[in-house]
Subunit: 216 residues, 2 copies
DNA sequence: CAATTTCGATACGCTCCCGTAGCGAAACTG
DNA sequence: CAGTTTCGCTACGGGAGCGTATCGAAATTG
């Protein structure tokens, strides 16, 4: 459905004037930089013009207002976290969570997401985009987990929406809300805590060392 | 440690001039309204003055700049989610999560939190406050869970930080990041999924109906 | 009641940013 | 190569908001 919008913005229209494409790319790059450095309040049309070297007039030719530029900028930063397919489900998921965690803390995606949270609260377009990007971002993970259900690694009646929430929710929560650290230890314990009872019910019985004592 | 700041702002100093107290309260109330309605960009000193009826000059007498007003406004909205202490741990936690979920979606706290996420990214004070408020907010839940560990309801080696993350993380995530619904069904399944393997390991073995099929 | 504190109101200069207009130059298209 | 499109540049009027200064009125304190 509204995934069309995303595609539409990433790949230019069929045979667009290269000058148009190039100036847009430069403006978006500058917008991302500005958002990284000074947050939402740092993104102004004039600042983007100065930073990108593209004339203010030209920017207005492609973006209606600041919100649209903001939306496009957030949309332009990708979030690609690979998902491995080995025989070890827990290791694959742990790898994914580690990758996601890194992206949230070190990449443009993580930096711009905080500015989008604010925007989504009062803009229908933003809210829709947040939702779409989320769906897209979780797709690989979702497929991996569905595969695990198919081959019997996970119980057939597991709720994937809940499961995914348990895996990625805490990472986002600690990054943006509670602002707590999430080192490798935390990620490992999280994944283990979520998946161990599912993949090997026997281990959920007592203190087996698979569920350690405390995380930092 | 820095919890001092919170207390300091909520309760007025010893024998403060009542005029000062009253005007501050009115300004903060107006600031909360403005943040609710128009987000961070809606909060300006002049708008707060107009809305509250307090003169702009007076506002500057108590708040250094807009950021400080924003910080105080966010700080002024409480987030009190009660935690029950019955013999049924799962029910108690489910009740808490339901309450938290409601607060996130309907209260001032939920509305202002999104503006704070943005601010915390570039302000040390904001980041510290977010952390402190989080600690304070999770305290009751943490105590309840510690009690459950003490009386043997939960295994002694459970990682409370991870556990709490699994419980509240998904609620925040779906509210602010992925913008997905979290109805009563989702909350119930989440709590069940997290706690069932811990409180009653036997039930984690197969499809017992305690881990339903899909959530909306 | 007298001294102190805080208040409201007004006015001000200043900066930043908006969004539009007009132009000739440069780049692209067919 | 001729026509079209996009560009960069400059300039402009206007609004919003900042942060400060001043000053008389009102409330509080002791």
């Amino acid at each position: 459905m509204s995934t069309v919008r995303v595609t539409e913005m990433l790949s230019a229209a069929v045979h667009e004037d290269p000058r148009r494409t190039k100036s847009r790319a430069r403006v978006l790059a500058a917008a991302v930089e500005l958002l990284r450095e000074d947050g939402l309040s740092g993104l102004t049309i004039e600042a983007a013009a100065a930073r990108s070297g593209v004339a203010k007039t030209t920017i207005y030719r492609q973006f209606a207002d600041r919100d649209e530029l903001h939306l496009s900028a957030v949309n332009s930063v990708g979030c690609h976290v690979p998902v491995a397919y080995t025989v070890d489900l827990v290791a694959d998921i742990a790898s994914f969570c580690t990758g996601l965690n890194t992206v949230l803390r070190d990449s443009d995606f993580g930096a711009l997401l905080s500015t989008a949270v604010d925007g989504a609260e009062r803009s229908e377009s933003f809210a829709a985009m947040m939702h779409d990007v989320g769906v897209q971002r979780r797709q690989l993970l979702s497929e991996r987990l569905r595969g695990a259900v198919s081959d019997g690694t996970l119980p057939h009646d597991v709720d994937l929406e809940v499961l995914i929430g348990q895996l990625v929710g805490p990472l986002f929560y600690r990054r943006f809300i509670s602002r707590q650290a999430t080192g490798p230890t935390f990620v490992a314990r999280l994944v283990s805590s979520v998946l161990t009872p599912l993949v090997d019910p026997a281990r959920a019985s007592s203190g087996s060392g698979a569920r350690p004592r405390s995380a930092r």
